[in-house]
Amino acid sequence: MSTEFYRTGAPIEDGKAPDGVIAERWDNRRFAAKLVNPANKRKLTVIVVGTGLAGGSAAATLAELGYDVKSFCYQDSPRRAHSIAAQGGINAAKNYRGDGDSVHRLFYDTVKGGDFRSRESNVYRLAQVSVEIIDQCVAQGVPFAREYGGLLDTRSFGGAQVSRTFYARGQTGQQLLLGAYQAMARQIQAGKIEMHPRTEMLDLILVDGRARGVVTRDLVTGEVRNHFADAVVLASGGYGNVFFLSTNAKGCNVTAIWRAHRKGALFANPCYTQIHPTCIPVSGDHQSKLTLMSESLRNDGRVWVPLTGGDTRAPADIPEAERDYYLERIYPSFGNLVPRDIASRAAKNVCDEGRGVGPGGLGVYLDFADAIARLGRDAVAAKYGNLFEMYERITGEDPFETPMRIYPAVHYTMGGLWVDYDLQATIPGLFVIGEANFSDHGANRLGASALMQGLADGYFVLPNTIGDYLAAGPFEPLDDAHPEVADAAEAVRTRVAKLLAVNGSRTPDSFHRELGRIMWDYCGMERTDAGLRKAVGLIQALREEFWRDVLVSGESEELNQQLEKAGRIADFFELAELMCIDALHRTESCGGHFRGESQTPDGEALRDDETFSYVAAWEYTGDRPVLHREHLTFEYVKPSQRSYK
């Protein structure tokens, strides 16, 4: 098939997917995978781009196994990767509470939460491995919340009816990342990891079709350099910043995986974006990022808006009878704990009805008055103290006194580079882990599952599967003069020079904001055929203007933050177009992808399993992308219309 936007290619399959009884697949795969003997591991080098939960845990573990690791991040220290900002918690099927949890239930919840657009085998493995993650982290000294008896505390998160989320106050990501960072530090000290902070990967080096290295730019000196290895692992995080405003850190980008995509790695489900329901609303045109208020707040906070539109009374002056606790009303069984996609859309709907609160009517209340009355102020402070403080710093309002105002914001990208069960991309020797891959969350990720996936990939999955590939190494030694290497480095230098040479009249940020606006309006919470077509045109025009009129100040041989930004934005333009095409081609609604044309009579996402039960894996061509379908089958969880009512 061929349309004006894309062509259709051959279907693809996950060549490493094991079969048999689902509970035994991971064991079977590990047994079947080739091993590398300890003496050979020392002769093998692995590059890991990214030091978040995924990259940090992978780098540390690979080094412990004996591989030589080269690790990269754009921040000044590996400890600052964006995983640090994760707040709420990490899921694990420990069933420490005896409340009916099990590996199977976590598997079931995740497949269902992902709206039946993920692979059963992968998700099952994730649920199995989750148990080991908590053990590992506790042994590292991660100070999880504990009860008076000294045992670990847990809480509930959206999309689950059991309490399986482990947490460290509102700073779970920080504590888990510091655990991984410290494990890395031990290997850096041991000389097994060569750490390159403030270094950005700008291209992938392919030699004879294998991923053999990366071209980087030193962000302090501007030096462009090649680094070689026997395999390359990308753990570069998510690309939510294509929307400009998101809960991601300012530097989060798509560059590493986009460059690999341009070199042949298929990009899966780019349009699956998670819009998080509880973020602090935009306060003005100066807004540079949005701040998440952890989903865990929905355990105790109640979401409401005034019953009638145009009610400008202060929240405290609105009597109970004139409030609409709409999540509790529409979804009585899950109430305030419905999954994120559902909570976000519900907030948008009440605001579209004119019942939103705060400036511009783009907000709903998240109210803790009942929780404070029930549990006492101190107990609420112990659970959410740092989140309340964060809210107060930004808005100047105290959530103990007045309800928070929240609104949905772009938060997480389920899409990413296509990988097989071994987490290997379509380029041999290229592995992709963490948020950068597409593997486990289908069309919607459940809260507290990204940390679980990042650490599962890095500590337990990749270190086991990468050996199967590396057993064929070490590969031919390389140097800068090798033609394929020299070409890659030259392309990077040319591109840097080109960005600086435009010397136009608009700042990089002004383009990024405008691109973000287009994406939010047409590829955000609700997508339509007409809107997406329009977006593709707008993006193409803006991209053309960018390359004609961007103004990047400074030089390349110095610390140049504008140049860094401009390079990332250039890649976002290309990604944005692919996201819109992916969203356009998928005429069903599923999870975070809501097509206005495909909804149930009461406004819920309406899937079309007959046509769309597949992973859309896109091939880069420079012209119209080519769609490869990976068909999804469900043996253990029967696809059903998700219901949280």
């Binding site: 670990l152 106050r169 400074g554």
Partner: protein, 248 residues
């Protein structure tokens, strides 16, 4: 509001820096401090000037990347707040604000307001970890941890490694940073086997890197965005002096 900014400009590590004066207009009280600098930078670019380099990433007070000395105080006057969380509602029309980088010998300036804090990584590498290779861990409930120890360990573990403590200390000491990690791991059962060695290695590495000694002035705690208490330094000293061996 309209403000006058005096900003430290320094082309690179080897050149000399100086304060340059800028005027910014129509700053909204809802802006963050860094958003105010964004506005200035957008203007500088369009005017053909070099925008001001400053470190930042999460912009929500957790990554530890940002850090400016604002009117002489690391992260500004507001307590328990990082630079990125500081909002303009705490300033008033007509104010003059002096903005400088962290100043400490082990944190050399890279450019403008950006400094090199890699010395902190060296301190952690010296021993700020528990040596447990992946896969070797017992069940998480095998060793209960008293809630009080877990909570105190957590309070110390919230350090974001921003370096404000060093910037505030007249001796340029990294004691609060180092002590935070020693306290975090030293209070947990998992951290016991390496406790004495950890304290010695980390403290000695900090000394070698050129950080000064602690004379209990307390400026560090006062500016710490996470409010890490001075008591952690006492714990560090105890562990360093070998009391750890007897379990303090």
């Amino acid at each position: 509001m309209n403000l006058t900014l005096k900003v430290w400009r320094q082309k690179n590590a080897t050149s000399r820096g100086h304060l340059t004066t800028y005027r910014v207009k129509e700053i909204s009280p809802d802006m963050s401090f860094l958003e105010m600098l964004d506005v200035l930078n957008e203007r500088l670019i369009l005017d053909g000037d070099d925008p001001i380099a400053f470190d930042h990433d999460c912009r929500e007070g957790i990554c530890g990347m940002c850090g400016l000395v604002i009117n002489g105080v690391p992260h500004g006057e507001q307590r328990a707040t990082t630079t990125c969380q500081l909002h303009m509602r705490h300033f008033k029309d007509g104010d003059t604000i002096v903005i400088e980088p962290w100043r400490a010998a082990p944190f050399p300036v890279v450019k403008d307001l950006v400094v090199d804090r890699s010395a902190f990584d060296r301190i952690i590498e010296a021993g700020g970890y528990v040596s447990v290779p992946t896969g070797s861990a017992p069940d998480a409930h095998a060793v209960p941890v008293p809630k009080a120890s877990a909570d105190t360990a957590f309070d110390a573990a919230t350090c974001i490694g921003c370096g404000a403590c060093v910037a505030a200390c007249p001796n340029g000491s990294a004691s609060l940073f180092t002590a935070a990690k020693i306290t975090h791991l030293g209070l947990l059962p998992q951290g016991q086997p390496e406790r004495a060695r950890r304290a010695r290695a980390m403290v000695e590495t900090a000394d070698e890197l050129g950080f000064g000694g602690c004379t209990n002035i307390g400026e560090c705690t006062a500016v710490c965005p996470k409010g890490i208490p001075l008591a952690t330094i006492a714990r560090m000293n105890a562990d360093y002096l070998g009391l750890a061996a007897t379990g303090d």
